[in-house]
Symmetry: C2
Subunit: 504 residues, 2 copies
């Protein structure tokens, strides 16, 4: 155990450096004066360098070798050593020159993307995107894989996930929700809108948005003694320890869903991090196990709870009292339908529950194709637009609103998009498992009782931190592997009711 304590002490310091870097990063997005950027870049580069040096210190390899016998155990120590090895191997697999080359290429690609999007000029971004996918292929080779190079990249964000499995889940999802979407579109074309959507863009004073959003966040368990909300251009959640959770949002006086559902989305991420077993503090087991499982929690709070009729049956009167003017004369039914509008549109981050996954599947298919070599970067605008037409029936009028809309590829984040949809699917699978144990959850939401749902998630998901792999969490918590069935059923029931569809 002497080696274990030495490893734990060392990785505790690595964790501290990571936390410090996160504070600097959070502060940069929330409060830093503009001209501070130059200093902050220096400080973060130095922290990152020292973090990398400490995380790849060869003595970690020596300790891990000596601690190998622990790896088979389902104990704290066993999981610690397993995850520590995974992290160490990842950090040490890339040669320093490759890391340097990637960092320079990402920087150039990001600037090129900003320019390209501004002028809707894909050609300007094209060579950089070529470079990003070339680097991704080389990264996959360094990381190693058995079946598919994409597995190696996926593993960075969703450890243990396999391309083949995701392809099969996504095929189910596509085949079963495309008819739903088409039926909704047909119904609206025939009978018109089911609600007055203009109510969403009335003037909702910011103070009320903030107060109401945080009141519900607190009902989810997000307490000011360990968490706070600030404003940033792009909403995110970060943390500097399980008892220092930060969420950010942006406010739009003329579109309250941005801040309201955004706040509950980030609250889901935050409660996951807060709920991790305190014993895991400053260890590799701290923090959520993957982006997909993280997203299951944010989407649960945002959609399964926050966009449910039952939730609003409890909260509607308070919401109306907070915003008497814009909500004057609005009924619960109309409000519920408005916040659940299904509309095939161009932009992923603004998509509803039904169309969102099509945006993700499109990107996943393109990434896999590019990595396999069955798709060429130069053809992307055309491929993108064709897939948009197939799935959503809309075609972007410009590449800025199409293939250039997301930041991810310019930042080298390849293998990332799928996790958004995995999170959606898992959110419903977890919800259903919770309901089996806790009884009808909508009945609880109708009484304002959100805590039992959150406590169930804490017990079955949050507390484990990174101790188990995502597919282990799915199996342990829901009794089956992750699949599309639960999510499809959820969508069909909810939206058949909203749009008055039959036989779906």
């Amino acid at each position: 155990m002497k080696n274990f304590e030495a490893l734990k002490h060392h990785l505790g310091q690595v964790s501290d450096l990571g936390g410090a870097a996160s504070v600097l990063s959070w502060e940069q997005e929330t409060y830093m004066p503009a001209k501070g950027a130059e200093h902050r870049a220096d400080q973060m580069a130095t922290l990152s360098l020292i973090h990398h040096q400490m995380a790849t210190d060869p003595k970690i390899g020596v300790w891990l070798e000596e601690l190998k016998p622990l790896e088979g155990e389902d104990t704290f120590e066993g999981a610690f050593v397993r995850v520590a090895r995974r992290n160490y191997e990842r950090e040490t697999k890339f040669p320093a020159e490759f890391v340097e080359e990637t960092s320079r290429a990402q920087n150039a690609a990001h600037h090129a993307w900003l320019e390209a999007r501004k002028h809707s000029d894909f050609k300007h971004f094209e060579p950089h995107l070529e470079k990003m996918f070339e680097l991704a292929r080389r990264a996959a080779d360094y990381l190693g894989f058995e079946d598919h190079p994409y597995d190696a990249l996926l593993d960075l964000y969703e450890p243990g996930a396999k391309t083949a499995h995701i392809k099969s889940i996504f095929a189910d999802l596509r085949d079963q929700t495309l008819p739903l979407l088409k039926a909704i579109q047909a119904k609206v074309a025939a009978s018109g809108d089911v609600a007055d959507y203009s109510l969403l863009s009335r003037k909702f004073p910011l103070e009320g948005q903030k107060t109401f959003g945080l009141k519900v966040a607190q009902r989810f368990g997000l307490e000011p003694e360990f968490a706070r909300q600030d404003v940033s251009a792009h909403p995110f959640c970060t943390n500097f320890g399980y008892n220092d959770i930060r969420i950010t949002t942006r406010f739009d006086e003329h579109f309250f869903p941005t801040s309201l559902f955004g706040t509950w989305h980030e609250t889901g991420h935050g409660m996951y991090e807060h709920g991790v077993n305190p014993q895991y503090n400053r260890t590799p087991l701290a923090g959520g196990t993957s982006l997909g499982v993280h997203e299951s929690q944010s989407r649960l709070f945002e959609n399964l709870v926050g966009r449910s009729k039952a939730f609003w049956e409890f909260h509607f009167e308070d919401f109306k009292a907070t915003f008497p003017e814009p909500m004057n004369g609005v009924t619960l039914d109309e409000f519920y339908k408005a916040i659940n509008r299904v509309q095939a549109d161009l932009i992923r981050v603004e998509a509803d529950e039904v169309t969102y996954n099509f945006h993700v599947m499109l990107r996943f298919e393109i990434e896999v194709g590019l990595l396999e070599g069955s798709i060429q970067v130069k053809d992307l605008p055309e491929i993108w637009n064709a897939k948009m037409q197939d799935y959503l029936g809309v075609v972007p009028p410009s590449d800025a609103l199409g293939v250039l809309q997301d930041v991810h590829w310019s930042a080298g984040l390849i293998g990332y998009f799928a996790t958004y949809s995995l999170g959606n699917l898992l959110s419903v699978q977890l919800y259903n498992a919770a309901q089996l144990e806790l009884g009808n959850l909508h009945d609880q939401y109708r009484k304002g009782e959100l805590a039992p749902t959150v406590e169930w998630m804490r017990k079955n998901v949050h507390q484990h931190g990174s101790r188990y792999l995502p597919h282990e969490i799915a199996q342990m918590a829901t009794g089956k592997p992750l699949g599309a069935a639960d999510y499809v059923k959820y969508l069909k029931e909810k939206y058949s009711e909203i749009y008055g569809l039959e036989g779906i």
Copy 2:
């Protein structure tokens, strides 16, 4: 020059770590949720450890030895090497066990002091204070000194300053301002108050305090693109680079001077750091050269400008318009006299310009006496109260309001207090030198022109950062060594006028 570049690169990283630690520290005082304290303590301890390791890396000693020939030069490189050597020697002079012992003792002393002050129980703090002064004596021995052990401690905060010189300056200051204070007290006893001081504690809405304070701060040059103000329990100024300045303040709706003059005080500190030559960024020459020179800038902005009649001749109408209710019927003359009230009282941080230095001298005399052994810790309450009676004519009703009022000793900050008064003295000496060159400054303030004063300070003080020692700055900028004469003259003229004294 290869060695110089290597040293510069290394110390650039040391500077980055210091900046990162300052961000964490600032955030802890401004936004961090209460329960984040545990994580933050870990993160700061690790940053501090790595900072210490890097700042005491033996290769620095090797580089410095090789660069010794540069030290005599009055060039960037010469100053760089001189200051780098001073920092390196300081960091390496204390044995690790001594640093550890000190850190533990300070922690215990701080908690004991909090308890002792709460219950006004000096006995509870006494053994800890004994320990703090024992450690201070040992620190002086490690640091080394020629004339007086106190010189070694002083040098930590005011490099190059000497106890004998300060004793002589303080003797002048005491002998010449005590009669002024007694004359003011006699006059008030005979003729009553010269203004209605109750106006200070009327209700001044916080929003107005903030807006007005920052408007003037901006006139001093503090621009939002490189600086911001936040709220903290104890006001301070910090920075993470010359273009990332942070000031904090606290607001009291029923005592506006706290935020108003506090904001301008911190603005003085901030403009000093912002004005340092950008070439010194990430080098040992970045940042102000000493606490005393720093305080000269904060007191200049707060008092010489902010509490001058000329300043208010320009700003008074705007102030009245900002606070129409509490300022209803108040004249400029009455307002000016109210914000310059002289009142011998118990608490240093609330003291006016005339009495402030007595609070400092008392502490300086006690520190020197304790270090020399001519005073015993157990006698402090008695000695403190006797000196308060001698200087200010008031005796604390409790030790909490007397010897236990300041945090400094409990934090091991011994040799620090004198810098407050050195700053006061230097502020007037610099002001007079600026006026010789720029013409009547009050005429400028009457027109709202604060920039020429600030620009003069930038040229003669700020830009040099830590390149020159405090006594070199005084000599270069004012043409003479630091002394009490200018300050005494300033006090006599200003307060004779306010209190209608003759023959002072």
